[in-house]
Protein backbone atom coordinates (compact mmCIF):
# COMPACT_ATOMS: atom_id res chain seq x y z
CA UNK A 1 0.00 0.00 0.00
CA UNK A 2 1.18 3.49 -0.85
CA UNK A 3 2.35 5.56 2.15
CA UNK A 4 0.81 8.92 2.91
CA UNK A 5 3.80 10.88 1.56
CA UNK A 6 3.53 9.26 -1.85
CA UNK A 7 -0.22 9.67 -1.78
CA UNK A 8 0.14 13.37 -1.03
CA UNK A 9 2.46 13.85 -4.01
CA UNK A 10 -0.07 12.16 -6.24
CA UNK A 11 -2.94 14.22 -4.87
CA UNK A 12 -1.07 17.51 -5.31
CA UNK A 13 -1.24 16.90 -9.08
CA UNK A 14 -4.69 15.37 -9.30
CA UNK A 15 -6.63 17.46 -6.80
CA UNK A 16 -4.67 20.49 -5.65
CA UNK A 17 -7.35 21.38 -3.11
CA UNK A 18 -7.25 18.19 -1.06
CA UNK A 19 -6.85 17.96 2.73
CA UNK A 20 -5.51 14.84 4.37
CA UNK A 21 -6.55 14.49 8.01
CA UNK A 22 -5.79 11.87 10.64
CA UNK A 23 -8.38 10.16 12.86
CA UNK A 24 -8.44 13.15 15.23
CA UNK A 25 -9.02 15.66 12.45
CA UNK A 26 -5.49 17.03 12.43
CA UNK A 27 -4.39 18.17 8.98
CA UNK A 28 -1.52 16.01 7.75
CA UNK A 29 -1.20 17.71 4.41
CA UNK A 30 -3.05 20.22 2.21
CA UNK A 31 -2.97 20.73 -1.54
CA UNK A 32 -1.07 23.74 -2.94
CA UNK A 33 -4.14 25.59 -4.21
CA UNK A 34 -5.98 25.18 -0.91
CA UNK A 35 -2.91 26.41 0.97
CA UNK A 36 -2.74 29.40 -1.45
CA UNK A 37 -6.10 30.56 -0.05
CA UNK A 38 -4.47 31.15 3.35
CA UNK A 39 -0.84 31.90 2.49
CA UNK A 40 0.01 33.16 6.01
CA UNK A 41 -1.47 30.20 7.88
CA UNK A 42 0.28 26.89 7.21
CA UNK A 43 -2.53 24.33 7.31
CA UNK A 44 -0.32 21.36 8.07
CA UNK A 45 -0.63 20.47 11.76
CA UNK A 46 -3.80 22.54 12.36
CA UNK A 47 -7.07 20.99 13.45
CA UNK A 48 -9.52 20.77 10.54
CA UNK A 49 -12.46 22.25 12.52
CA UNK A 50 -10.29 25.25 13.52
CA UNK A 51 -9.99 26.30 9.88
CA UNK A 52 -13.33 25.26 8.44
CA UNK A 53 -16.90 25.55 9.60
CA UNK A 54 -19.18 22.69 8.60
CA UNK A 55 -22.27 24.25 7.03
CA UNK A 56 -23.98 21.03 5.89
CA UNK A 57 -24.89 18.37 6.93
CA UNK A 58 -25.82 20.14 10.15
CA UNK A 59 -26.30 16.94 12.14
CA UNK A 60 -22.56 16.18 12.08
CA UNK A 61 -20.77 17.64 15.11
CA UNK A 62 -17.83 15.34 15.77
CA UNK A 63 -14.74 14.43 13.78
CA UNK A 64 -15.38 10.66 13.77
CA UNK A 65 -18.89 11.27 12.48
CA UNK A 66 -17.52 13.56 9.75
CA UNK A 67 -14.83 11.08 8.71
CA UNK A 68 -17.32 8.24 8.58
CA UNK A 69 -19.26 10.01 5.82
CA UNK A 70 -17.52 7.92 3.16
CA UNK A 71 -18.38 9.30 -0.28
CA UNK A 72 -20.51 11.93 1.40
CA UNK A 73 -20.69 15.53 0.28
CA UNK A 74 -20.06 18.33 2.75
CA UNK A 75 -20.40 22.11 2.54
CA UNK A 76 -17.79 24.14 4.36
CA UNK A 77 -16.80 27.73 4.96
CA UNK A 78 -13.62 29.32 6.21
CA UNK A 79 -13.95 30.63 9.75
CA UNK A 80 -12.13 33.86 8.89
CA UNK A 81 -12.55 36.35 6.04
CA UNK A 82 -12.94 35.94 3.14
CA UNK A 83 -15.43 33.28 4.16
CA UNK A 84 -15.25 31.41 0.86
CA UNK A 85 -17.72 28.56 0.55
CA UNK A 86 -16.27 25.18 -0.38
CA UNK A 87 -17.72 21.84 -1.37
CA UNK A 88 -15.98 18.68 -0.22
CA UNK A 89 -16.02 14.98 -0.84
CA UNK A 90 -14.78 12.65 1.90
CA UNK A 91 -12.86 9.46 1.20
CA UNK A 92 -11.59 7.53 4.26
CA UNK A 93 -7.96 6.42 4.09
CA UNK A 94 -7.51 2.69 3.40
CA UNK A 95 -6.06 1.95 6.83
CA UNK A 96 -9.19 3.32 8.44
CA UNK A 97 -7.29 6.07 10.19
CA UNK A 98 -8.19 9.49 8.84
CA UNK A 99 -9.49 10.60 5.44
CA UNK A 100 -8.89 12.60 2.30
CA UNK A 101 -11.28 15.49 1.84
CA UNK A 102 -11.20 16.81 -1.69
CA UNK A 103 -12.40 20.42 -1.77
CA UNK A 104 -13.69 22.54 -4.64
CA UNK A 105 -15.15 26.01 -5.01
CA UNK A 106 -18.44 25.12 -6.59
CA UNK A 107 -20.31 28.25 -7.52
CA UNK A 108 -18.07 30.47 -5.34
CA UNK A 109 -15.35 30.12 -7.98
CA UNK A 110 -16.20 33.47 -9.57
CA UNK A 111 -15.39 35.35 -6.36
CA UNK A 112 -12.54 33.02 -5.44
CA UNK A 113 -10.45 33.65 -8.57
CA UNK A 114 -10.71 37.36 -7.84
CA UNK A 115 -10.24 37.21 -4.07
CA UNK A 116 -7.19 34.94 -4.27
CA UNK A 117 -5.78 35.96 -7.68
CA UNK A 118 -5.90 32.35 -8.87
CA UNK A 119 -4.48 31.40 -12.27
CA UNK A 120 -5.06 28.40 -14.52
CA UNK A 121 -1.99 26.78 -12.94
CA UNK A 122 -3.94 26.55 -9.66
CA UNK A 123 -6.47 24.17 -11.15
CA UNK A 124 -5.84 20.63 -12.23
CA UNK A 125 -5.68 20.13 -15.98
CA UNK A 126 -9.04 18.36 -16.09
CA UNK A 127 -10.85 20.80 -13.80
CA UNK A 128 -13.60 22.61 -15.69
CA UNK A 129 -12.99 25.80 -13.70
CA UNK A 130 -11.34 27.66 -16.59
CA UNK A 131 -14.07 26.59 -18.98
CA UNK A 132 -16.66 27.77 -16.47
CA UNK A 133 -14.99 31.16 -16.15
CA UNK A 134 -14.74 31.39 -19.94
CA UNK A 135 -18.40 30.56 -20.27
CA UNK A 136 -19.47 33.12 -17.68
CA UNK A 137 -17.58 35.88 -19.47
CA UNK A 138 -18.69 34.81 -22.92
CA UNK A 139 -22.31 34.49 -21.86
CA UNK A 140 -22.24 37.83 -20.04
CA UNK A 141 -20.89 39.53 -23.15
CA UNK A 142 -23.51 37.85 -25.35
CA UNK A 143 -26.25 38.71 -22.86
CA UNK A 144 -25.13 42.33 -22.76
CA UNK A 145 -25.30 42.51 -26.57
CA UNK A 146 -28.80 41.01 -26.48
CA UNK A 147 -29.87 43.34 -23.73
CA UNK A 148 -28.75 46.42 -25.61
CA UNK A 149 -30.60 45.17 -28.69
CA UNK A 150 -33.72 44.65 -26.59
CA UNK A 151 -33.46 48.19 -25.23
CA UNK A 152 -33.16 49.65 -28.72
CA UNK A 153 -36.05 47.54 -29.98
CA UNK A 154 -38.17 48.63 -27.04
CA UNK A 155 -37.33 52.27 -27.79
CA UNK A 156 -38.27 51.76 -31.44
CA UNK A 157 -41.50 50.04 -30.42
CA UNK A 158 -42.49 52.89 -28.10
CA UNK A 159 -41.72 55.42 -30.83
CA UNK A 160 -43.81 53.42 -33.32
CA UNK A 161 -46.68 53.17 -30.85
CA UNK A 162 -46.46 56.90 -30.19
CA UNK A 163 -46.46 57.62 -33.93
CA UNK A 164 -49.48 55.41 -34.42
CA UNK A 165 -51.56 57.64 -32.15
CA UNK A 166 -49.98 61.00 -33.00
CA UNK A 167 -50.86 63.54 -35.66
CA UNK A 168 -47.40 64.20 -37.06
CA UNK A 169 -48.09 67.79 -38.19
CA UNK A 170 -49.35 69.15 -34.89
CA UNK A 171 -48.10 66.62 -32.34
CA UNK A 172 -51.70 66.24 -31.13
CA UNK A 173 -53.39 62.85 -30.84
CA UNK A 174 -54.94 61.49 -34.02
CA UNK A 175 -58.38 60.07 -34.74
CA UNK A 176 -57.28 56.57 -33.73
CA UNK A 177 -56.08 57.83 -30.36
CA UNK A 178 -59.35 59.70 -29.85
CA UNK A 179 -61.32 56.51 -30.56
CA UNK A 180 -59.19 54.66 -28.00
CA UNK A 181 -59.67 57.32 -25.33
CA UNK A 182 -63.42 57.49 -25.97
CA UNK A 183 -63.66 53.71 -25.79
CA UNK A 184 -61.81 53.66 -22.46
CA UNK A 185 -63.91 56.41 -20.90
CA UNK A 186 -67.18 54.87 -22.02
CA UNK A 187 -66.34 51.33 -20.94
CA UNK A 188 -65.07 52.71 -17.62
CA UNK A 189 -68.34 54.56 -17.12
CA UNK A 190 -66.54 57.91 -16.61
CA UNK A 191 -68.29 61.23 -17.04
CA UNK A 192 -66.71 63.50 -19.63
CA UNK A 193 -67.38 66.26 -22.14
CA UNK A 194 -66.67 66.08 -25.84
CA UNK A 195 -65.95 69.33 -27.64
CA UNK A 196 -65.90 69.40 -31.42
CA UNK A 197 -63.98 72.39 -32.80
CA UNK A 198 -63.78 73.47 -36.41
CA UNK A 199 -61.50 76.25 -37.70
CA UNK A 200 -63.46 78.83 -39.69
CA UNK A 201 -61.92 80.38 -42.81
CA UNK A 202 -59.05 77.89 -42.74
CA UNK A 203 -59.57 77.02 -46.40
CA UNK A 204 -59.19 80.64 -47.38
CA UNK A 205 -55.82 80.89 -45.56
CA UNK A 206 -54.68 77.78 -47.40
CA UNK A 207 -55.86 79.12 -50.74
CA UNK A 208 -54.46 82.63 -50.31
CA UNK A 209 -51.15 81.95 -48.54
CA UNK A 210 -50.37 78.34 -49.41
CA UNK A 211 -50.09 75.07 -47.55
CA UNK A 212 -47.09 76.17 -45.49
CA UNK A 213 -49.24 78.93 -44.00
CA UNK A 214 -52.07 76.46 -43.48
CA UNK A 215 -49.75 74.06 -41.67
CA UNK A 216 -48.48 76.92 -39.54
CA UNK A 217 -52.03 77.87 -38.55
CA UNK A 218 -52.84 74.28 -37.61
CA UNK A 219 -49.73 74.10 -35.44
CA UNK A 220 -50.53 77.38 -33.71
CA UNK A 221 -54.13 76.30 -33.15
CA UNK A 222 -52.92 73.01 -31.69
CA UNK A 223 -50.63 74.86 -29.31
CA UNK A 224 -53.46 77.12 -28.15
CA UNK A 225 -55.78 74.16 -27.53
CA UNK A 226 -53.11 72.39 -25.51
CA UNK A 227 -52.47 75.52 -23.47
CA UNK A 228 -56.15 76.02 -22.72
CA UNK A 229 -56.73 72.44 -21.56
CA UNK A 230 -55.45 70.27 -18.73
CA UNK A 231 -52.89 67.50 -19.10
CA UNK A 232 -55.52 64.85 -18.52
CA UNK A 233 -57.66 66.18 -21.36
CA UNK A 234 -57.23 64.74 -24.84
CA UNK A 235 -56.78 67.08 -27.80
CA UNK A 236 -57.00 65.32 -31.15
CA UNK A 237 -56.92 66.46 -34.75
CA UNK A 238 -59.42 64.26 -36.51
CA UNK A 239 -59.57 65.89 -39.94
CA UNK A 240 -58.03 68.73 -41.97
CA UNK A 241 -59.19 71.58 -39.72
CA UNK A 242 -61.33 69.59 -37.30
CA UNK A 243 -60.39 68.98 -33.68
CA UNK A 244 -61.94 67.09 -30.79
CA UNK A 245 -61.20 67.83 -27.16
CA UNK A 246 -62.22 65.31 -24.52
CA UNK A 247 -62.50 66.72 -20.98
CA UNK A 248 -62.21 63.93 -18.47
CA UNK A 249 -64.52 64.22 -15.41
CA UNK A 250 -65.66 67.67 -16.50
CA UNK A 251 -69.38 68.01 -17.23
CA UNK A 252 -70.03 71.53 -15.93
CA UNK A 253 -71.48 73.43 -18.90
CA UNK A 254 -70.57 76.84 -17.47
CA UNK A 255 -66.91 75.88 -17.14
CA UNK A 256 -66.92 74.29 -20.58
CA UNK A 257 -68.50 77.41 -22.08
CA UNK A 258 -65.74 79.52 -20.50
CA UNK A 259 -63.09 77.29 -21.99
CA UNK A 260 -64.77 77.43 -25.40
CA UNK A 261 -64.98 81.20 -25.22
CA UNK A 262 -61.27 81.48 -24.36
CA UNK A 263 -60.36 79.13 -27.23
CA UNK A 264 -62.44 81.13 -29.72
CA UNK A 265 -60.99 84.41 -28.49
CA UNK A 266 -57.42 83.24 -28.83
CA UNK A 267 -57.93 81.48 -32.16
CA UNK A 268 -59.39 84.70 -33.63
CA UNK A 269 -56.16 86.60 -33.00
CA UNK A 270 -54.37 86.93 -36.35
CA UNK A 271 -51.36 84.58 -36.59
CA UNK A 272 -48.37 86.07 -38.38
CA UNK A 273 -46.80 83.79 -40.97
CA UNK A 274 -43.78 85.25 -42.77
CA UNK A 275 -45.10 88.75 -42.26
CA UNK A 276 -48.61 87.92 -43.50
CA UNK A 277 -51.52 87.83 -41.05
CA UNK A 278 -53.53 84.60 -41.12
CA UNK A 279 -57.04 85.18 -39.83
CA UNK A 280 -59.11 82.23 -38.73
CA UNK A 281 -61.67 81.67 -36.05
CA UNK A 282 -63.42 78.69 -34.51
CA UNK A 283 -66.87 77.23 -34.12
CA UNK A 284 -67.37 74.85 -31.22
CA UNK A 285 -70.03 72.34 -30.23
CA UNK A 286 -70.05 70.49 -26.91
CA UNK A 287 -71.89 67.38 -25.72
CA UNK A 288 -71.73 65.60 -22.35
CA UNK A 289 -71.55 61.86 -21.74
CA UNK A 290 -74.08 62.39 -18.95
CA UNK A 291 -76.67 63.48 -21.51
CA UNK A 292 -77.03 59.85 -22.58
CA UNK A 293 -78.23 56.87 -20.61
CA UNK A 294 -75.81 54.52 -22.34
CA UNK A 295 -73.40 56.77 -24.19
CA UNK A 296 -71.59 55.45 -27.22
CA UNK A 297 -68.82 57.11 -29.17
CA UNK A 298 -70.65 57.64 -32.45
CA UNK A 299 -73.68 59.05 -30.68
CA UNK A 300 -71.62 61.52 -28.66
CA UNK A 301 -69.61 62.63 -31.66
CA UNK A 302 -72.83 63.12 -33.56
CA UNK A 303 -74.29 65.18 -30.71
CA UNK A 304 -71.22 67.44 -30.54
CA UNK A 305 -71.33 67.70 -34.31
CA UNK A 306 -74.95 68.90 -34.22
CA UNK A 307 -74.02 71.54 -31.66
CA UNK A 308 -71.09 72.58 -33.85
CA UNK A 309 -73.39 72.83 -36.86
CA UNK A 310 -75.71 75.05 -34.89
CA UNK A 311 -72.75 77.28 -33.86
CA UNK A 312 -71.79 77.65 -37.51
CA UNK A 313 -75.39 78.36 -38.45
CA UNK A 314 -75.55 81.13 -35.89
CA UNK A 315 -72.68 82.92 -37.62
CA UNK A 316 -69.44 81.16 -36.59
CA UNK A 317 -66.96 82.12 -33.86
CA UNK A 318 -69.47 80.69 -31.44
CA UNK A 319 -69.90 77.91 -28.97
CA UNK A 320 -73.08 75.89 -28.82
CA UNK A 321 -74.12 73.31 -26.23
CA UNK A 322 -75.90 70.17 -27.32
CA UNK A 323 -78.26 70.65 -24.38
CA UNK A 324 -79.46 73.95 -25.89
CA UNK A 325 -80.49 72.38 -29.16
CA UNK A 326 -83.74 70.97 -27.78
CA UNK A 327 -84.93 74.49 -26.96
CA UNK A 328 -84.14 75.59 -30.50
CA UNK A 329 -86.15 72.62 -31.71
CA UNK A 330 -83.56 71.03 -33.92
CA UNK A 331 -82.42 68.24 -31.63
CA UNK A 332 -83.74 65.65 -34.03
CA UNK A 333 -81.78 67.06 -36.96
CA UNK A 334 -79.31 64.25 -36.63
CA UNK A 335 -78.60 63.97 -40.34
CA UNK A 336 -75.59 66.25 -40.00
Amino acid sequence: MMDTANLSTLLETLCPMFVMVDGEGKILNAGPTLQKLRPDQPMKGRAFPDLFELVRPRTITTIPALLSLAGGKVHLKFHDEPRTALKGLIAPLPDGNGAIINLSFGISILDAVRDYALTSADFSGTDLAIELLYLVEAKSAAMEASRSLNLRLQGAMLAAEEQAVTDMLTGLKNRRAMDLVLGHLISGGSAFALMHLDLDYFKSVNDRLGHAAGDFVLQQAARIMEEETRNEDTVARIGGDEFVIIFKSLVDEAVLSDIAARLIKRLRQPMMFQGAPCQVSASVGTALSTQFNTPDAAELLNAADQALYEAKRQGRSRHCLYSSLGEAGIKTASSH
Partner: protein, 195 residues
Amino acid sequence: MHGLINRAIQSFVCATYGQSCWLRVTEAAGLGFTEFEAMLIYEDSMTTRVLDALSADLNRPQSEILEDLGTYLVSHPNMEGLRRLLRFGGVTYVEFLHSLDDLSDRARLAVSDLRLPILELCEVSPAEYQLHCFPGLPGYASVMVGVLRAVADDYGALAMLSHEGQQGDVEVITIVLVESAFAEGRHFDLGARGT
Protein backbone atom coordinates in the same frame (compact mmCIF):
# COMPACT_ATOMS: atom_id res chain seq x y z
CA MET B 1 -23.83 36.52 -41.67
CA HIS B 2 -23.96 36.82 -37.92
CA GLY B 3 -24.45 40.35 -36.62
CA LEU B 4 -21.45 39.94 -34.30
CA ILE B 5 -19.18 39.66 -37.34
CA ASN B 6 -20.79 42.63 -39.09
CA ARG B 7 -20.69 44.60 -35.87
CA ALA B 8 -16.97 43.78 -35.48
CA ILE B 9 -16.32 45.19 -38.96
CA GLN B 10 -18.34 48.31 -38.14
CA SER B 11 -16.53 48.81 -34.85
CA PHE B 12 -13.14 48.35 -36.55
CA VAL B 13 -13.92 50.83 -39.33
CA CYS B 14 -15.29 53.47 -36.96
CA ALA B 15 -12.36 53.16 -34.52
CA THR B 16 -9.69 53.06 -37.23
CA TYR B 17 -10.97 55.23 -40.08
CA GLY B 18 -13.68 57.26 -38.40
CA GLN B 19 -17.45 57.45 -38.45
CA SER B 20 -17.51 59.38 -41.75
CA CYS B 21 -15.69 56.52 -43.51
CA TRP B 22 -18.24 54.05 -42.14
CA LEU B 23 -21.13 56.19 -43.36
CA ARG B 24 -19.58 56.40 -46.86
CA VAL B 25 -19.09 52.63 -46.89
CA THR B 26 -22.64 51.78 -45.80
CA GLU B 27 -23.94 54.24 -48.39
CA ALA B 28 -21.79 52.77 -51.16
CA ALA B 29 -22.78 49.24 -50.12
CA GLY B 30 -26.44 50.25 -50.29
CA LEU B 31 -27.27 48.82 -46.87
CA GLY B 32 -30.13 51.20 -46.20
CA PHE B 33 -29.00 51.52 -42.57
CA THR B 34 -25.81 52.42 -40.77
CA GLU B 35 -25.81 50.30 -37.62
CA PHE B 36 -25.47 46.54 -37.51
CA GLU B 37 -27.06 44.83 -34.52
CA ALA B 38 -24.74 42.31 -32.88
CA MET B 39 -27.49 39.82 -32.14
CA LEU B 40 -29.32 39.72 -35.47
CA ILE B 41 -28.51 37.72 -38.58
CA TYR B 42 -27.94 39.50 -41.90
CA GLU B 43 -27.67 38.34 -45.50
CA ASP B 44 -24.13 37.28 -46.41
CA SER B 45 -24.15 39.60 -49.42
CA MET B 46 -24.38 42.63 -47.12
CA THR B 47 -21.03 41.78 -45.55
CA THR B 48 -19.48 41.20 -48.96
CA ARG B 49 -20.76 44.56 -50.21
CA VAL B 50 -19.47 46.35 -47.11
CA LEU B 51 -15.99 44.81 -47.47
CA ASP B 52 -15.90 45.59 -51.21
CA ALA B 53 -16.95 49.18 -50.55
CA LEU B 54 -14.39 49.52 -47.77
CA SER B 55 -11.61 48.18 -49.97
CA ALA B 56 -12.57 50.65 -52.70
CA ASP B 57 -12.87 53.56 -50.27
CA LEU B 58 -9.47 52.91 -48.69
CA ASN B 59 -7.91 51.80 -51.97
CA ARG B 60 -6.32 48.83 -50.18
CA PRO B 61 -6.56 45.09 -50.85
CA GLN B 62 -9.20 43.34 -48.76
CA SER B 63 -6.75 40.83 -47.27
CA GLU B 64 -4.69 43.67 -45.74
CA ILE B 65 -7.77 45.30 -44.27
CA LEU B 66 -8.95 41.98 -42.81
CA GLU B 67 -5.54 41.41 -41.18
CA ASP B 68 -5.86 44.81 -39.55
CA LEU B 69 -9.35 43.85 -38.42
CA GLY B 70 -7.87 40.75 -36.77
CA THR B 71 -5.29 42.85 -34.96
CA TYR B 72 -7.98 45.29 -33.87
CA LEU B 73 -10.10 42.48 -32.40
CA VAL B 74 -7.32 41.55 -30.00
CA SER B 75 -5.47 44.75 -29.28
CA HIS B 76 -8.03 47.56 -29.21
CA PRO B 77 -9.40 48.60 -25.81
CA ASN B 78 -12.94 48.39 -27.29
CA MET B 79 -12.38 44.66 -27.65
CA GLU B 80 -10.95 43.85 -24.22
CA GLY B 81 -13.71 41.29 -23.62
CA LEU B 82 -12.76 39.35 -26.73
CA ARG B 83 -9.05 39.46 -25.86
CA ARG B 84 -9.88 37.95 -22.48
CA LEU B 85 -11.97 35.20 -24.04
CA LEU B 86 -9.06 34.31 -26.34
CA ARG B 87 -6.59 34.33 -23.45
CA PHE B 88 -8.69 31.68 -21.72
CA GLY B 89 -7.27 29.42 -24.44
CA GLY B 90 -3.97 28.88 -22.69
CA VAL B 91 -1.25 30.05 -20.35
CA THR B 92 1.36 30.29 -23.11
CA TYR B 93 1.24 31.24 -26.78
CA VAL B 94 1.82 27.63 -27.82
CA GLU B 95 -1.03 26.47 -25.58
CA PHE B 96 -3.16 29.18 -27.15
CA LEU B 97 -2.26 27.93 -30.64
CA HIS B 98 -3.38 24.44 -29.66
CA SER B 99 -6.63 25.81 -28.28
CA LEU B 100 -7.52 27.13 -31.74
CA ASP B 101 -8.78 23.64 -32.63
CA ASP B 102 -11.62 24.34 -30.16
CA LEU B 103 -12.23 27.96 -31.16
CA SER B 104 -15.23 27.21 -33.34
CA ASP B 105 -16.84 25.12 -30.56
CA ARG B 106 -16.02 27.71 -27.94
CA ALA B 107 -17.63 30.44 -30.03
CA ARG B 108 -20.75 28.30 -30.41
CA LEU B 109 -20.82 27.63 -26.69
CA ALA B 110 -21.05 31.38 -26.12
CA VAL B 111 -23.40 32.29 -28.98
CA SER B 112 -25.19 29.23 -30.27
CA ASP B 113 -25.86 30.54 -33.79
CA LEU B 114 -22.35 31.88 -34.38
CA ARG B 115 -20.65 29.47 -36.78
CA LEU B 116 -16.94 30.01 -37.30
CA PRO B 117 -14.91 27.85 -39.69
CA ILE B 118 -12.98 24.92 -38.26
CA LEU B 119 -9.30 25.52 -37.52
CA GLU B 120 -6.70 22.79 -37.24
CA LEU B 121 -3.20 23.25 -35.87
CA CYS B 122 -0.41 21.03 -37.18
CA GLU B 123 2.90 21.01 -35.36
CA VAL B 124 5.75 20.94 -37.87
CA SER B 125 8.35 21.35 -35.14
CA PRO B 126 8.21 22.81 -31.62
CA ALA B 127 9.01 26.16 -33.23
CA GLU B 128 6.92 25.89 -36.38
CA TYR B 129 3.20 25.37 -36.78
CA GLN B 130 0.72 25.39 -39.59
CA LEU B 131 -2.83 26.52 -39.05
CA HIS B 132 -5.37 25.13 -41.50
CA CYS B 133 -8.46 27.29 -41.94
CA PHE B 134 -11.38 25.35 -43.35
CA PRO B 135 -13.88 27.05 -45.66
CA GLY B 136 -17.09 28.72 -44.52
CA LEU B 137 -16.20 32.36 -44.04
CA PRO B 138 -14.34 34.10 -46.88
CA GLY B 139 -11.43 36.14 -45.56
CA TYR B 140 -11.34 34.33 -42.21
CA ALA B 141 -7.71 33.25 -42.73
CA SER B 142 -6.66 36.86 -43.27
CA VAL B 143 -8.43 37.91 -40.06
CA MET B 144 -6.72 35.02 -38.24
CA VAL B 145 -3.28 36.23 -39.38
CA GLY B 146 -3.98 39.55 -37.68
CA VAL B 147 -5.41 37.83 -34.61
CA LEU B 148 -2.43 35.47 -34.25
CA ARG B 149 0.05 38.32 -34.62
CA ALA B 150 -1.70 40.43 -31.99
CA VAL B 151 -2.14 37.52 -29.57
CA ALA B 152 1.60 36.78 -29.89
CA ASP B 153 2.25 40.34 -28.73
CA ASP B 154 -0.27 39.86 -25.96
CA TYR B 155 1.63 36.82 -24.65
CA GLY B 156 4.98 38.52 -25.22
CA ALA B 157 5.98 35.91 -27.81
CA LEU B 158 7.92 36.73 -30.97
CA ALA B 159 6.36 34.95 -33.93
CA MET B 160 6.60 35.28 -37.70
CA LEU B 161 3.39 34.73 -39.56
CA SER B 162 2.72 34.17 -43.20
CA HIS B 163 -0.44 33.53 -45.09
CA GLU B 164 0.47 30.76 -47.51
CA GLY B 165 -2.81 30.92 -49.39
CA GLN B 166 -5.09 28.14 -50.56
CA GLN B 167 -3.86 24.53 -50.41
CA GLY B 168 -6.61 22.24 -51.56
CA ASP B 169 -9.64 22.78 -49.35
CA VAL B 170 -7.91 24.83 -46.71
CA GLU B 171 -6.07 28.11 -46.39
CA VAL B 172 -2.76 27.73 -44.62
CA ILE B 173 -1.06 30.07 -42.18
CA THR B 174 2.50 29.34 -41.11
CA ILE B 175 3.58 30.38 -37.62
CA VAL B 176 7.29 30.37 -36.81
CA LEU B 177 7.98 30.88 -33.14
CA VAL B 178 11.22 32.79 -32.77
CA GLU B 179 11.03 33.30 -29.04
CA SER B 180 8.15 32.23 -26.82
CA ALA B 181 9.02 34.64 -24.03
CA PHE B 182 10.40 37.57 -25.99
CA ALA B 183 8.79 40.34 -24.02
CA GLU B 184 6.72 40.81 -20.89
CA GLY B 185 3.34 40.45 -22.61
CA ARG B 186 0.08 41.82 -21.28
CA HIS B 187 -1.30 40.75 -17.95
CA PHE B 188 -4.19 38.33 -17.83
CA ASP B 189 -6.04 38.21 -14.53
CA LEU B 190 -8.59 35.38 -14.38
CA GLY B 191 -10.72 37.18 -11.86
CA ALA B 192 -10.91 40.52 -13.66
CA ARG B 193 -14.20 39.74 -15.37
CA GLY B 194 -16.40 42.52 -16.60
CA THR B 195 -13.72 45.21 -16.52
